[in-house]
């Protein structure tokens, strides 16, 4: 039988730190790049720690040559900024029009651009994890990524997420 005093001595009382959010960004379309960044920026503004794991197409958000060129799909996107019949959505220029329309909405609403959101997140201390497997599968080099990313596999991110109060997959 263990005495209560001994139990108390054995328990590892961890000093409560700041709250933490762990997000996964798995999509490489412009519209789906915003939510993880907006949530992470809000979290650090509230004094939380925030980390985003960019995996599969989501890694494009960290790709130097791609993050400024993310697009909105004109096909198979029934909620998109333009909603043409699929046969029209397939014609050249439809994706560009959908993308331009979305960017126009954001600008009209005085929302930052995606590159600005990325800068705000990094300046606020949001941790960017680049999925190592995605880099291997899609032949992405560390030099292809924007500065300040941590290359990590699933175990390293889960280790981070295990200490998070909120976890989300986008």
């Amino acid at each position: 039988m263990t005495a209560p005093a001994q139990l108390a001595a054995n328990s590892t009382q961890v000093e409560p730190g700041p709250k933490r959010i762990a997000l996964v960004a798995s999509k490489g379309t412009l519209d789906q790049a915003y939510p993880p960044l907006i949530l992470a920026i809000t979290a650090v503004s509230m004094g939380w720690e925030a980390g985003i794991y960019f995996t599969f197409y989501g890694l494009d958000i960290l790709h130097k040559d791609r993050f400024e060129k993310l697009k909105v799909a004109s096909l198979a996107n029934p909620s998109g900024p333009i909603q043409p019949p699929n046969i029209v959505g397939a014609i050249p220029g439809a994706t560009a029009l959908a993308t331009k329309t979305m960017k126009g909405w954001m600008e009209r609403s005085a929302m930052p651009t995606l590159p600005e959101f990325i800068e705000m997140a990094q300046a606020g201390g949001v941790q960017f994890f680049a999925c190592a497997t995605t880099m291997g599968v899609m032949s992405v080099q560390e030099s292809d990524l924007i500065d300040g990313c941590d290359i990590a596999g699933a175990a390293a991110f889960l280790d981070y997420a295990a200490s998070a109060d909120v976890q989300m997959f986008v």
Binding site: K19, I41, M46, G47, A110
Partner: protein
């Protein structure tokens, strides 16, 4: 319209986020609170309808104190006393 107990509150900074949507009011409020000392008061002006829920949530999460909320048809004015922790 809420009553204002704020005549005797010294406002040291004012931030107008009129026209801005989430996450900008919270983001900019955090930046505006940064140079303030603990106990000093920020006046925050918002027009985003979401701010009515967002600003009290932000204040709670940061450990600041919401002294007052003054709401008109289109605008909310919050008085935030900076807490100790951030």
């Amino acid at each position: 319209m809420t009553t204002t107990p704020s005549d005797d509150v010294a406002i040291v900074a004012t931030l107008d986020t009129s026209g801005l949507l989430c996450p900008l009011p919270v983001y900019k409020a955090a930046l505006a609170l940064q140079p303030l000392a603990s106990g000093e008061v920020l006046e925050l002006i918002c027009t985003d309808p979401g701010s009515l829920a967002d600003i009290p949530a932000m204040v709670r999460q940061r450990g600041d104190e919401l002294l007052d909320t003054n709401q008109t048809d289109t605008t909310q004015v919050f008085l935030i006393r900076k807490g100790a922790s951030l």
